[in-house]
Symmetry: C2
Subunit: 324 residues, 2 copies
C-alpha cells in the first residue's frame, strides 16, 4: 500500500493518480498463486469513473480529498472489477478492456475464484477505514446485494423479448446505478457530510448511472458490430435486451421473431441494428437518457461546493459526450 | 430477522437453534428473484459445526452466549454456504447435502451469482454487529482471502501426483482451517476476550480444522465409492489428491501411473482405494490426523472456562468419532 507516502489531503488529479497506483499495487502484491490473474487484470485500464465520482463527492471546499477517499476509491474500483470478472463468466465474454477476458484466458473455474478473491480484497480495503465510519458498512453490503440481484435479473431476462421498460430500468439500476450511487454516498460520508446530504449525493449517482447505462446501451446500436476472431461483440449476440430494442419492438413487433432465432449471424445482427435505428428505437432510448442526464445536471447545479459542481459537471459532460 | 425475539443471553442449545432459525429466515426473506435458489439451499441441513465452534468460543463463565454470537454464527455458516456453492461449480459436483447441487439444478451461471449473493448476505450480517468490534473486521476479510487461495491452490494441484504433504496441508489450512479458526477467534472477541486469548482460540480452530479435514479425506478411502446416476462421488473421480493417496504414492510410486489415466471407471477407483488402504496410506494419514486431534485436545484442556472445556471437548470428540 502506498498510503504511508500520501499527504493527508490531496488535490483531485493527484488523488485519482493515487487511486490508480493503490489499485495496481494492491493487486500486484497478491499471493504468487493468483498473481498471474492479477497481472493480467492490470493490463487493461478502466475509466475509473466510479472512483472519480467518489473522489469528487469526498472533496472539501478547498478542492482537496483525504486518504480515506483514495482507499475507498480503490475499493469501489476493485469491487467493480470483481463484478466484471463474474459477469464475463455469465456472459461468456471473450474480451474485456481490450484484452482477453479472464474467463477466456484462465478458464471459468479460476475466474470464479478470482472474482471471489477481488471481492475479499475490496472488502479488506473497506474494513481498513470502516471503523472511522461506524454504521455505514451496511450501505456497502446493500449496494453489493443490489448488484447481484441486477445481474441475476438481467440473466433471467436474457432473450426475453417481452422485457418491459420498468424491468429494464430495474436491471440497470442494479447493475450500474447501485455502484455509482454507493461511490457518491461513500464519498460524502468520508467528507463528513450528514446522512441526508450523503443520500442526496447517492441519488445524483443513481440518476447518472441510469443515463450512463442507457447511453452505453444506445452506443451498441450506433455502429456496425465488432467482429473478433472468436465472437461477435454486441448485446444482440449475447441475447441481452436493452432499451433501444424494447422501443423498436413497440414500433415493430415483428422484430421479436427475428430476435428469437438462435445464433444470429453477423449479417442478421447488422440488419436488426439498422432496423432498430430506422424505427426510432435508439432515438427514443436516447430521449430517456437525456431525461436522466438533465435530472442529474439539475441536482449537481444545486451543490454548494463549487469544486464539486465544476468537476461533477465535467464528469457528467464527458459521459454525455463520449457515450452520445 | 428473529433478533428482536431473542433474550439478551442464551444457553448453548437455544443459541444453536437460534442460529439455524436466523439462517433460514435470512435466506427465505430474500428477493423473489433469488428465492427459489434460497429455498433449495434450506432443504439440506449442514452440521453447523462452524457455528457451534463460534458459540462455544463466545460462551461466558455461566455457559451463556450473546445475541451477537448468534448473528455471527449465522454469518459464518452463510459464508461457508457461499464457498460450497462456488466450490460445486469448480468441482462440477452433482450432489450437496443430499440434494442436487445448486449448479446442477439451476446452472453454473446462476450459481455464480447465488454464491456472490450469499457472500453479500454474510457480510451484511457481520456489518450489523461489526461497529461493536472496531478493527476486527479485517480478520474476517483475511480469513475469506485465505479460503479463496486455498480453493485456488487445490484447483491448481488437481491431478498433481507430485503434490507434497506440505502443499496438501496448505490447501486444507485454507479451505477448512481458515473458517474454523475465524469462527473461534470471532466468538472469543464477541465474548470480550483479549486479542491474545482470541488468537489462542483461533489456533484451536486451526488445528481442529486440520484434524477434521484429514479425517474427512481418510473417510473417502474407507468405503466403496458412492455411485449416483450422474457421477461417481469420490475425490479420485474429481482428481483431488489428498493425504492417504500422497502417502500411498510414497509407498508405491507405480500408483501414480494409474491415477494419471483420464476418466477412471468405478472398478478402477475401487481398486485404487483398496490399494491405498493396503499400502497403509489411510493409516498413515490417520496418524497425522491423530496428531492434530491430540494437539487440539491438549489446548482445549487448558481453557479456564469449564463450559467451554466440556462442550469443545464434545465437539472434538464427535469429529473424531464420526470421521474416524
Amino acid at each position: 500500500m502506498i498510503k504511508s507516502d500520501l499527504a493527508p489531503r490531496l488535490d483531485y488529479q493527484y488523488s485519482l493518480e493515487a487511486v490508480r497506483l493503490l489499485m495496481k499495487e494492491t493487486l500486484l502484491e497478491s499471493d504468487e498463486l493468483i498473481l498471474a490473474m492479477m497481472q493480467h487484470l492490470t493490463l487493461g485500464a478502466g475509466k475509473n469513473l466510479r472512483a472519480m465520482l467518489l473522489l469528487v463527492s469526498a472533496m472539501d471546499e478547498d478542492g482537496f480529498v483525504s486518504q480515506d477517499a483514495v482507499i475507498a476509491g480503490a475499493a469501489v474500483e476493485i469491487l467493480h472489477l470483481a463484478t466484471l470478472v463474474h459477469d464475463d463468466i455469465i456472459d461468456e465474454a471473450e474480451i474485456r478492456r481490450g484484452n482477453a477476458s479472464l474467463q477466456r484466458k484462465f478458464g471459468k473455474k479460476e475466474a470464479v475464484i478470482c472474482g471471489d478473491y477481488l471481492f475479499c480484497v475490496a472488502i479488506a480495503m473497506v474494513a481498513e477505514i470502516s471503523n472511522r465510519y461506524p454504521e455505514k458498512l451496511k450501505e456497502f453490503t446493500q449496494a453489493m446485494t443490489k448488484i447481484c440481484l441486477g445481474e441475476l435479473r438481467q440473466f433471467k431476462h436474457n432473450s426475453d423479448t417481452d422485457l418491459s421498460v420498468l424491468n429494464y430500468l430495474k436491471i440497470i439500476a442494479g447493475k450500474t446505478s447501485a455502484l455509482f450511487s454507493l461511490a457518491m454516498y461513500s464519498g460524502a460520508i468520508i467528507n463528513g457530510n450528514s446522512d441526508k446530504e450523503a443520500r442526496f449525493m447517492g441519488r445524483i449517482g443513481h440518476n447518472m448511472g441510469l443515463a450512463f447505462q442507457i447511453l452505453d446501451d444506445c452506443a451498441d446500436y450506433q455502429s456496425d458490430v465488432e467482429v473478433t476472431k472468436k465472437s461477435v461483440k454486441h448485446d444482440l449476440a449475447e441475447e441481452v435486451i436493452t432499451l433501444p430494442l424494447i422501443f423498436a419492438f413497440l414500433k415493430k413487433p415483428e422484430l421479436k421473431q427475428q430476435i428469437r432465432k438462435q445464433q444470429l449471424s453477423v449479417v442478421e445482427i447488422n440488419e436488426i441494428i439498422a432496423e432498430v435505428v430506422n424505427v426510432g428505437g435508439v432515438s427514443m432510448a436516447h430521449d430517456v437518457a437525456e431525461k436522466y442526464y438533465l435530472k442529474t445536471k439539475k441536482m449537481i447545479d444545486t451543490l454548494p461546493n463549487q469544486h464539486q459542481r465544476l468537476l461533477m459537471g465535467q464528469i457528467l459532460g464527458r459521459i454525455w459526450k463520449v457515450e452520445n
